[in-house]
């Protein structure tokens, strides 16, 4: 099953003037996100509409034109929104600001209770265990560190068992160890629990290392939707969307240009980049 946006046009400005001028903040011709095994990166310049796109996926924002289809059923005015909100779990940027209960456990079980799931406390503890914060359950969330709070907030979404977990720049403000830990955890969720992950990120290292599919946005338009590794082969696209190359790829491209090497610069891990370079340098004489 999946979530699908088609022929969608969305604008924050609902005035008549804006409607007539045809301005929009986001336009999606067709976007399909399966609810299992996807690992998608949404990338693009600041203000390109990444957050807006994710809000459209669970009907937090309602597009002026086009339709949202969830599990083959079109979402209309009369559709109950709760099941959609549950299916597509959305973790906002700085989600720690949505915490309000006086214990961590209560806050994490807030979502499952709203969604009327059975045994919300058990679900909450389960989610906290997967994130490794079960020991914080009786703490006051406002006394936690930034990283811990972030995890509590993510657990709050995870506890409602979403099929698609959408995270808006989840690693901003975390140190590199916690960042790595969080990403590895998402990978675990994706590979073991088969939850689809949609990740907004500015970090191209993350795109190549963790994501399988990438969606590139520019000024509210989807420029690219496809394999996350193939993306960087399109030089014009990378430039057009103001994307960075992963560091390694940048070095490889520079080396290739400067010394006219016969290599494929689009290798994203150290080992394969190394062997590619080595091959070119000793010209296949390597035993």
């Amino acid at each position: 099953m999946s979530v699908n946006l088609s022929q969608v046009i969305f604008s924050y400005d609902t005035s008549r003037k804006a409607r007539l001028s045809g301005e929009y903040y986001l336009k999606v011709d067709n976007l399909n996100i399966k609810d299992t095994n996807e690992f998608i990166a949404i990338v693009g310049h600041t203000g390109s509409g990444k957050s807006t796109l994710t809000h459209l996926l669970n009907r937090l924002l309602i597009p002026q034109k086009g339709k949202l289809v969830v599990d083959e059923k079109e979402v209309t005015k009369r559709t109950k929104l709760l099941p959609i909100r549950k299916k597509v779990g959305l973790v906002f940027q700085f989600p720690e600001y949505q915490i309000f209960e006086d214990t961590v456990l209560k806050d994490v079980s807030f979502g499952p209770k709203n969604f009327k799931l059975d045994n919300p406390e058990t679900l909450a503890i389960e989610a906290m265990e997967t994130l490794g914060i079960a020991d914080l359950k009786d703490r006051n969330p406002f006394t936690l560190s930034g990283g811990q709070m972030r995890k509590v907030a993510i657990a709050g979404i995870l506890a409602s068992k979403p099929d698609i977990l959408v995270l808006d720049e989840p690693t901003v403000g975390l140190d590199s160890a916690s960042k790595e830990e969080l990403l590895e955890f998402l990978k675990y969720l994706n590979e073991v629990k088969h939850i689809s992950i949609v990740l907004i990120t500015h970090d191209m290292e993350v795109v190549t290392k963790y994501c399988r599919r990438a969606i590139v946005l520019k000024k509210g338009n989807i420029l690219y939707d496809g394999d996350s590794l193939e993306l960087f082969r399109d030089e014009k696209l990378v430039e057009d969307a103001h994307l960075d190359y992963p560091h390694l790829t940048k070095i490889m491209i520079e080396l290739k240009k400067k010394y006219n090497l016969d290599i494929d610069p689009y290798k994203y891990d150290a080992a394969s980049a190394f062997s590619e370079l080595e091959k070119a340098l000793i010209g296949g004489k390597h035993e």
């Binding site: 937090l60 600001y97 807030f110 709203n114 409602s160």
Partner: protein, 322 residues
């Protein structure tokens, strides 16, 4: 890009925009007081014409003013109607004779039902729709007497009460036009700056107003940000399954808590950060500071001062001498 702008300020380039904020505040204040002195409809009409000239010369789209008027239109119309109907002073002017019949009653109820059904379809101009419904119901009782009579009745309009209601109406319209002129043509920050400078002499009396104006300008600065934050939290909680606008009282309270606590945390955090940042840049409450924007009176400001003083004097003369 920011869609939520607090205050009504509309950017344009008119003489009202260029006027010194202190001059605008003081003149506006004087004229408003003056308007309360006047109890003659003809003089008020003249002042209203003056207000219209101000409105037009402000180069702000008229629709902006109409919006401010619309906000109090309901109140205005109802006070007017009640004054005219129930305040019986002066000579009789005209008597409306109505006859309530079973047929008219049914037709009236039908019109009311129609009004509510229409409300589902057309959400705009509800006030106008309501007035049309009322007018329809009453004109039926006037002109279309048909069926068994329940009771005849009449409403008499008196000239003095009509004039009194007219005075209230025009007075309020003038006040709304003038205050909108002030808020549409002056940035909120300029208003606080003006107040700051106007009350600065009070410092000699050990009354420090600069702290208050600083507080006001900070509050003004943060209102749009906080409104944006509120919407963000609203959406964040909605994605955790909160259905705002649904559920009973207890649910509503919980929804409010899930919104207010994060709001409070964010506001507190922003305030604490701002206080530190201000302190780091050596802001000491109450100490003398130089201003980035120096307010300097120009010739036009003096002209406006003199003109409004004359006007106020004129109004006092009209009230007490003539």
């Amino acid at each position: 890009m920011n869609s939520v702008v607090f205050g009504q300020y509309y950017h344009a380039n008119s003489w009202l925009h260029r006027l010194d904020p202190r001059c605008k505040l003081v003149s506006m204040f004087m004229l408003m007081i003056g308007v309360f002195f006047i109890r003659r409809l003809d003089v008020l009409a003249l002042l209203f014409a003056l207000a219209i000239i101000l409105v037009i010369s402000s180069k702000v789209p008229i629709i902006k003013y109409l919006k401010s008027i619309k906000m109090i239109a309901t109140l205005l119309i109802f006070t007017f109607v009640f004054q005219v109907l129930f305040n019986k002073t002066g000579n009789e002017l005209y008597t409306f004779n109505f006859t309530l019949t079973y047929f008219n009653l049914a037709a009236g109820i039908l019109l009311l039902v129609l009004f509510f059904v229409l409300g589902r379809l057309v959400k705009k101009l509800r006030l106008l729709q309501f007035l049309a419904t009322l007018a329809g119901a009453f004109s039926l009782q006037m002109f279309w007497v048909y069926g068994d009579v329940i009771t005849p009745y009449s409403i008499t309009i008196h000239d003095a009460s009509l004039i009194n209601s007219g005075i209230i109406l025009v007075r309020v319209l003038i006040l709304v036009c003038m205050s909108s002129c002030l808020t549409l043509c002056t940035k909120p920050t300029d208003i606080t700056l003006g107040l700051d400078k106007m009350f600065a002499p009070l410092k000699k009396l050990h009354l420090d107003t600069s702290i208050f104006t600083m507080m006001i300008s900070i509050a003004l600065r943060f209102i749009p940000t906080l409104i944006n934050e509120a919407f963000r939290i609203l959406r964040a909680q909605a994605s955790r399954g909160v259905e705002f606008s649904q559920g009973g009282l207890i649910k509503k309270i919980r929804q409010m808590v899930s919104l207010l606590v994060p709001m409070f945390v964010i506001a507190y955090k922003k305030a604490a950060d701002l206080a530190l940042a201000m302190e780091a840049r050596s802001y000491i409450p109450g100490h003398d500071r130089t201003s980035l924007y120096l307010l300097k009176y120009k010739a036009r400001d003096y002209i406006v001062y003199v003109f409004s003083l004359l006007l106020l004097a004129g109004m006092i003369v009209v009230r007490f001498v003539l």
